[in-house]
């Protein structure tokens, strides 16, 4: 039986990928940020799962307005970095895990979560930046990855509760997978940020930290937030935080917080990172 190894929330800010790709980690702007990642990276170096389910959103890279799926699972054995408008990131191709991905599809759909299935989805910074956060710049990513892409751009996005419930169903799916492997799940995006409009640049540290506190102690509180609550309090792009609820739903009702790091600003965004483990 597969095991839920750990959960992580992390923002997926493209500037972080650019700083790593262009060797800017030592610059004044970035030093404090990358110092804050060190304990997380040390933990990841010692605690490698076999597969990571990365819950992320596509930013007009693989998917456009032509067809919008609420939840999409990547079932391919390989996902290439996307050209987002300035050439693909020069990071390794992402290796998939088709057997577990198809098991997730089957288990989730039979559990009444109607997942879309994709065999050809280039992956953008939403997925590759979290890998860089955890593993820096290796020649090959040390884990296999199942991309789980969520529509967070077009209203109506899935509700905060639906995301949490999907996480619960993912836990059940992982625990019914026949092979003895360790599976982690990462919820990515957020935290508070607004990239657009006259209100661009809005940050709400109180909201962000309450959200992370709730992920540890009262995850149901985070399922009661409406779309407008996220947009008003955490900025128009802060609604990406619903993807952390998917991660949290896949964890046990009681969790331990192994590490938290919060840093403002990274580009226009409040960066958050949280590593969770099921309580023994």
């Amino acid at each position: 039986m597969a095991n839920i190894f750990s959960g992580m929330g992390t923002s997926h800010i493209p500037a972080v990928g650019a700083a790593i790709d262009h060797g800017k980690q030592g610059e004044d702007y970035w030093q404090g940020y990358f110092k804050g990642l060190e304990p997380a990276r040390a933990w990841h170096a010692q605690n490698k799962p076999d597969v990571v389910i990365i819950v992320y959103n596509d930013h007009a890279s693989a998917f456009s307005l032509e067809q919008i799926s609420t939840f999409t699972i990547g079932v391919s054995d390989k996902f290439l970095p996307a050209d987002e408008g300035y050439g693909p990131r020069k990071v390794p191709a992402v290796q998939g895990h088709p057997a577990l991905a198809w098991h997730l599809v089957e288990s989730l759909v039979l559990d009444e979560f109607d997942m879309a299935i994709s065999n050809n989805m280039p992956v953008d910074h939403g997925l590759t930046v979290p890998l860089s956060v955890a593993y820096d710049a290796p020649a090959e990513w040390p884990v296999k990855v199942i991309p789980l892409c969520v529509n967070v751009i077009q209203y109506p996005q899935p509700t905060a509760k639906r995301c949490h419930d999907l996480g619960i169903a993912i836990r059940k799916a992982i625990q019914s997978y026949g092979e003895d492997i360790n599976v982690s799940i990462w919820g990515t995006g957020g935290l508070s940020h607004q990239l657009q409009g006259e209100r661009a640049g809005v940050i709400n540290s109180d909201f962000d930290n309450t959200f992370m506190d709730n992920l540890v102690n009262d995850p149901i509180a985070n399922t009661k937030l409406t779309h407008a609550d996220f947009v008003r309090e955490a900025g128009s792009e802060g609604i990406e935080m619903i993807m952390w609820n998917i991660m949290r739903g896949a964890m046990a009702p009681k969790v331990e917080e192994l590490y938290r790091f919060y840093h403002v600003p990274v580009s226009n965004t409040a960066y958050g990172l949280q590593i969770l483990k099921d309580s023994a």
Binding site: A60, Q194, I203, T226, R232
Partner: protein, 136 residues
């Protein structure tokens, strides 16, 4: 036609363009043009002759003008979505803070925007509801 559930009162949020049904429909052609810039050959064609390139897309004259003039706020007001219009910024070699300053609509400079972020970002207090701030 109700497009947005009542608990999702986006209208009262200042300075924010929500990608709802109306926004989707108004901005479809503009956003699909932006999306085309993911392709290097298309970027080369756009570079060669911006007007000829955008004329291939189903866009209004106002949308075309906003693109050619790099009116970042105007593009949002005409249905653009930031993840799509950012493709044009990337094409121009601009970063999110540079266009963030331009979208503020207050003549804010890039340096002012950068400093605002370094000082903790645009404060949420005073920016939750229209009428609380200048961003409405």
């Amino acid at each position: 036609m109700t497009e947005v559930a009542p608990e999702n009162d986006f209208e009262s949020i200042p300075g924010t363009y929500v990608q709802d049904a109306a926004h989707y429909q108004n901005g479809y052609g503009l956003n699909m043009f932006c999306m085309s810039l993911n392709n290097a050959e298309n970027r080369a064609q756009f570079k060669e002759d911006e007007t000829a390139y955008i004329n291939q897309f189903d866009m209004s004259n106002a949308q075309r003008k906003a693109v050619l003039e790099r009116d970042w706020l105007g593009m949002l007001q005409l249905g653009g979505n930031i993840y799509y219009t950012f493709k044009i910024a990337a094409f121009d070699g601009l970063n999110m803070q540079q266009i963030g300053a331009k979208m503020s609509g207050t003549g804010m400079s890039f340096e002012d925007f950068q400093n605002m972020m370094l000082n903790g970002g645009r404060p949420i207090d005073g920016n939750r509801f229209k009428g609380e701030s200048d961003n409405g």
